[in-house]
């Protein structure tokens, strides 16, 4: 897996290196509210689970220069399971959990380029952290992802958009001890409404699927799906 510092430095240097006097440059700030559900299966020997309450808020900042963009997105949310919850895995055991609230955090550092008029390819260094409230057990998943995104203007006010991709990486506990391997995939689509030249609101659906294979060969498979609304404001300079 690539070193985190190398990726961050590469992103920053790429951004700074691409500045030029007459290019279109913009910084976009965004906020998003996701009403979400977390459901899945703890694999053989385990049981299925389904959150009763859940949601996330996300804040993002991105830099766009012509066809290039780079940005960061931070998400935070809580999911409450009144009955069965996702099992907790360590390097040697699996511990069932129930009646628990799990804090879910995500960070995305990404950079992309529009290789076609309305379609871009991007790399996303993603980190996901889940913390169980009952015993502060923490599980981290992170890795490098690849995706494609695109948009389609529908008229002067409305634009359709979507993105899809996957991430592969390690699953670690709070002590950064590897407890397994994981991969995730994401699909998002929706519509954007243009309020004015600098502001848009967006809404749509986001699907994420996570598949983990732990060191004891047990598996865990779950999805976090959401309906979202968001707002973005661009600052051109």
């Amino acid at each position: 897996m690539l070193n985190k510092k190398t990726i961050i430095i590469s992103l920053i240097s790429t951004v700074l290196g691409m500045q030029n006097a007459l290019a279109d440059q913009r910084i976009t700030l965004g906020a998003k509210l996701l009403g979400a559900g977390w459901q899945g299966d703890n694999g053989a020997g385990g049981s299925s689970f389904n959150s009763d309450e859940g949601g996330q808020v996300a804040f993002s900042a991105s830099y766009t220069e012509n066809k290039f963009y780079a940005g960061i997105s931070l998400q935070n949310g809580n999911y409450t399971f009144t009955s069965t919850a996702p099992d907790q895995f360590t390097s040697s055991s699996r511990n069932p959990s129930s009646n628990v609230k799990i804090e879910h955090q995500e960070i995305d550092l990404l950079a992309g380029y529009y290789f076609w008029k309305q379609v871009s390819l991007f790399v996303d260094f993603k980190g996901v952290s889940n913390t169980w409230s009952n015993n502060n057990y923490k599980q981290n998943f992170g890795g490098l992802g690849f995706g494609a995104s695109g948009y389609l203007p529908l008229n002067n006010s409305w634009t359709g958009f979507g993105s899809a991709g996957f991430v592969g990486g390690n699953v670690e506990d709070a002590s950064n001890v590897k407890v397994g391997d994981g991969r995730s995939s994401g699909l998002e689509f929706g519509v954007i409404y243009r309020l004015n030249d600098d502001s848009t609101i967006n809404m749509g659906l986001k699907f994420r699927n996570y598949k983990f294979e732990y060191l004891d060969n047990s598996t865990q498979d779950y999805s976090i799906n959401a309906l979202f609304v968001g707002y973005n404001h661009g600052f051109s300079f």
Binding site: G35, G71, K117, L152, I192, V229
Partner: protein, 345 residues
């Protein structure tokens, strides 16, 4: 989860209801309607945005002393901005005060990236101008111009190129240049002034045709910086005056320029000129100013919008095909305009 899900659903549904109501209202009426909504001009014949780039240069920094500071250019620019926004519904106005060469070029570039196919774009410049006697080439002089070094000026050919880029996307483009020798921008082609008309068919005709027009403060001559006790140059003084005192809902550039030329020529030793930018796709259309300062009892002026709608089917075939083709006009320029949410996995 259910609570947040419900909030998201509620916000989404209310948003769709609100936008649907406004869309329906816009489609079903004909004639002039006044309603308390955010102010933004649109002609009855296209739904483009009115945009302006306004440049005013007073503080020249030339160490050689060739380019003396001006007294009125910044005030001219501010007054034009205010009038266009408050009286003529320009919703996107950028103003550059004491602009360098680079700032002007950047502003042109930014504007050209924003322009959409039905837009009406006005560029106003007040500042020094220059013309080389040997080559008859004209220039705008930015505040960072250095003496006689014309590489630090903005050539007319560069200005024409920038306007041509903008005009390739906009429906109507108008350059108003209040500087010495600004008439040199017109040397490549002029045309007679169109007949003034109150006929709606006339406005519809010229609105549907593309236009790329220029109003210049003078021909190949020096123009005055200050008119009497006003804070404006003679050209901008009468330009503002005509727009302020215009009592018609729609005023074409040709009508405006005719009145401004007469007023300026009658009062100072200076003759403004107007015409088209040759080779930029002008189809004998007209830039139309839509007057917005109409009073609706009980509604603040900044909340009044003039809506003039045609019934469905009244638009011309070319207009319909243009509307249909708009979503597909999504090349690199549109890419830069979109404010997209960041994609995450």
């Amino acid at each position: 989860m259910k609570f947040i899900f419900s909030i998201v659903l509620f916000i989404s549904s209310q948003f769709f209801v609100i936008t649907s109501v406004f869309s329906a209202a816009a489609d079903n009426s004909r004639g002039l309607a006044l309603e308390p909504v955010v102010k933004k001009a649109a002609t009855p014949f296209n739904n483009g945005t009115y945009r302006a780039l306004i440049i005013g240069n007073n503080n020249y920094r030339d160490r050689d002393g060739r380019w003396k500071p001006l007294k009125t250019a910044v005030a001219d620019a501010r007054a034009v901005k205010s009038l266009l926004q408050n009286t003529y519904g320009f919703s996107d106005v950028d103003i550059l005060e004491n602009a360098t060469r680079r700032e002007v070029l950047k502003a042109f570039d930014k504007l050209s990236q924003k322009v959409l196919p039905n837009d009406n774009v006005l560029v106003y410049y007040a500042g020094h101008g220059f013309m080389e006697n040997e080559t008859q080439r004209g220039f705008w002089v930015p505040v960072d111009a250095k003496g006689a070094d014309n590489t630090t000026f903005l050539r007319n050919s560069t200005i024409r190129d920038e306007l041509t880029t903008i005009a390739s996307r906009a429906k109507h483009t108008l350059l108003v240049s209040d500087s010495c020798f600004s008439g040199s921008l017109l040397r490549r082609g002029t045309r007679g002034i169109s007949e003034v008309s109150d006929n709606e068919q006339y406005y519809k005709k010229v609105s549907n045709k593309k236009s790329v027009q220029i109003m210049a403060a003078g021909g190949l001559e020096y123009v005055d910086d200050k008119y009497k006790s006003s804070d404006h140059s003679p050209f901008t003084y009468f330009f503002l005056n005509e727009l302020k005192n215009n009592d018609r809902a729609m005023l074409t550039m040709s009508e405006l320029s005719t009145n401004v030329e007469k007023a300026v020529a009658n009062n100072v030793d200076q003759v403004p000129e107007s015409g088209v930018l040759q080779g930029a796709g002008d189809e004998l259309g007209e830039f139309i100013f839509i007057k917005m300062d109409l009073v609706v009892e009980g509604v603040p002026i900044d909340k009044v919008k003039v809506k003039v709608n045609l019934k469905q089917g009244d638009s011309t075939q070319s207009e319909q095909s243009r509307i249909k083709s708009e979503p597909s006009l999504s090349g690199d320029k549109n890419l830069r305009k979109e404010i997209l949410p960041i994609p995450t996995l």
